[in-house]
Point group: C2
Chain length 377, copies 2
DNA sequence: GTTGGCACTCGATTCTACCGAGTGCCAACC
DNA sequence: GGTTGGCACTCGGTAGAATCGAGTGCCAAC
């Protein structure tokens, strides 16, 4: 058979000896069947599938090869085969088109984005619900980081005799706040003066680079300004800013039947920081899918993560993700994640009136070509 | 023994024929044992327990009575007994003291409340983590409703040509926001004027009763004020305001071994509104514990909910709750919930500098007497 | 009223037999 | 050469029978 007799470069141990068409078809059949039934797939079933026009015996001998090369495993002798992570990876990279949503789902998405309103957090929260609803998997949505958003307004509001609240409004509509303690009784006028000073010095800058604020003459005001300024830089500290919205965690309990797996995956989802860096990681590697142990967390070894970026006018504005078992429905999940990610980006852009940043409002073109991760040959 | 021969008022069908001391002791032994082992408890085990100084045979005959009266059930003939919801209820109401936290836990709580800082939401979120950590059950924390908090500041911040953000700061440190759309290009000066007008008209009032705002002469400004004012009343609409923080949902997966139970309970926790009204309901009925079907949600039939109020200067400021299996460790859960609820209230009070509202800052006395729900006779 | 004794129940566990989906191998075929 | 049908073999899953033992209900004796 073809086997593409290259001189066995072997950058990866046994790995990328490309599969010939028939092997690919068989792998595809196994993956598809297994995703549907969660049962090991035998040569007989594969032989029946359209596209594989060979006998069960031939399928068997090919499956032995596929097993040697690490695409399939047998749970035990004389059982059917199950895809490995590598098998899923090949399937996702080479064998599946992103897929399209059904009309009902498409309509759900449209209706959702037509109706959704309210603040960013609420929108993200609900988006996570939508995604989970579309796919029956647990969904995660992380919003834009605010580090680079320009400051629109800074204000100090008195709450108590020595307590004030620093309220910062950013260009993307986010509001950050931090309570600060002031030395002694601080009259409202002083706060007003400090607010004005902060506003003058900071407006238009981003949280990440708050530079210096000019002094007024008044020592008391300057003190307040200093405290507020310190609190401000605290606001941009990492981890504090990013919110993660998890939708439909209960779906995990249907996706996995081992209660221990459910527990450990839920445990991961509880750690927002981990989730954020997980999504970011996957996107940074230019992928849309992370399967099994590809990401480094063992509790997620039996999970796959489908990620799509959210961007507004070409700028990174967060990500959406779907978390399910490795035997998840990749085409559907990819389609859902990308559509929702895209629409969410547009929606956020709309909400900001297209005047969000220095970019001219030219909507970035949709780029369906890059969807399935590295798409080969 | 006592049986307290009251004339059998029978407001409940068979129910409150009080248990004599021996029956109570047996029930207690069964509940305690079952909580520990999750196995049906036989007469032999009960007879061995200190406090029950009778033979297994006697225990058996008493258990028959207890079963008739609905405190115990047998999963099948010739198995030990399991407490019913009614059994747990009696246990909670009459047989258990609130319990105290171990020194290690006590220290965790202290350290937590010494260290915790940042904004309300963050504090509540972390509190839910603490509670879950202390008890190994899932925890819920709902913050104060903002309806009655006085408005400290109202501000309109321009975000785009026709988009502005209404930012409201409340006396309790909460910041609410809502984006509003304005007719045509709206210069910053107009927004400033409208802000001032809103501020004048609304400061000191609560979100619930925003009354009327006086007109300026300027029609454009009045229009903006009107839009903002409408958005404001939208803010106080029910359901929108209350945030629920769920801590340690993964604990549910260890508390229940049936994956379907986990799924349905997680499903309930996803519905914030339900959770809020659940906690509120229980507190309104003057209880600290709701067991099994006492609350109306079937998915929670195998759960118990332990609730403690959070109050600041005697005012309702939310609640904390623990959700576990009906065979949860009630004394520990009650202790943890009440301590954390109390400390949280104090902490919020501190953060507001004791000047939160019209109440003079007299800390409300601790009232440990009311802890275990209706504690009778 | 309490207790020890005793026959009985019934879920859980273990063992055995058996079924059948699926495999690996091989000889025959193209 | 690759492909195919045939065949013996493997082994997890299921069903039934036997066994075990914790726990019960009942009763006679204390």
């Amino acid at each position: 058979m073809p086997k593409t007799e290259e001189p066995t470069i072997d950058h990866e141990p046994i790995a990328q000896r490309a599969l010939d068409d028939r092997q690919a078809a068989i792998l595809e059949a196994v993956v598809t069947e297994y995703i549907g039934t969660a049962q090991p797939v035998g040569s007989g079933h594969v032989a029946k599938v359209a596209g594989v026009n060979v006998s069960a015996a031939t399928v068997r001998s090919e499956m032995v090869d596929l097993e040697h090369e690490g695409y399939l495993v047998q749970p035990h002798t004389s059982a059917g085969r199950i895809p490995t992570d590598k098998g899923y990876r090949f399937f996702v990279d080479h064998l599946t088109e992103p897929g399209v949503l059904g009309p009902a789902q498409r309509q759900k998405v449209s209706r959702f984005f037509d109706q959704v309103h309210g603040e960013m957090e609420q929108m993200l929260e609900r988006t996570s619900g939508l995604l989970s609803d579309l796919t029956s998997y647990a969904a995660v949505v992380v919003g834009p980081t605010h580090e680079s958003a320009a400051i629109r307004s800074v204000q100090l509001v008195g709450l108590g005799p020595r307590l004030a609240l620093l309220v910062v409004v950013l260009a993307d509509g986010a509001v950050e706040k931090r309570s600060i303690e002031l030395g002694d009784d601080t009259p409202d006028e002083l706060l007003a003066a400090a607010s004005t000073q902060l506003q003058l010095g900071l407006q238009g800058r981003s949280l990440a680079e708050t530079g210096v604020v000019a002094k007024t003459g008044d020592a008391a005001v300057d003190r307040a300004v200093g405290v507020a300024h310190a609190a401000l830089s605290d606001l941009s500290s990492p981890g504090e800013a990013e919110h993660v919205f998890v939708g439909g965690p209960s779906r995990l309990a249907v996706a996995f039947d081992a209660v221990e797996t459910v527990r450990s995956v839920l445990g991961i989802l509880e750690q927002q920081m981990v989730v954020v860096s997980l999504l970011r990681d996957v996107l940074d590697r230019g992928l849309s899918v992370s399967i099994g142990v590809e990401h480094g967390y063992e509790p997620l070894a039996s999970c796959a993560l489908v990620v799509a970026p959210v961007s507004v006018d070409g700028h990174d504005a967060g990500a959406v993700g779907l978390l399910g078992p490795t035997r998840m429905n990749y085409p559907q999940a990819l389609a859902a994640a990308h559509v929702v990610g895209e629409r969410l980006g547009e929606r956020i852009g709309d909400a900001l009136g297209g005047s969000g940043s220095e970019d001219r409002g030219a909507k970035r073109p949709r780029t369906p070509g890059t969807k399935g991760g590295r798409r080969g040959r």
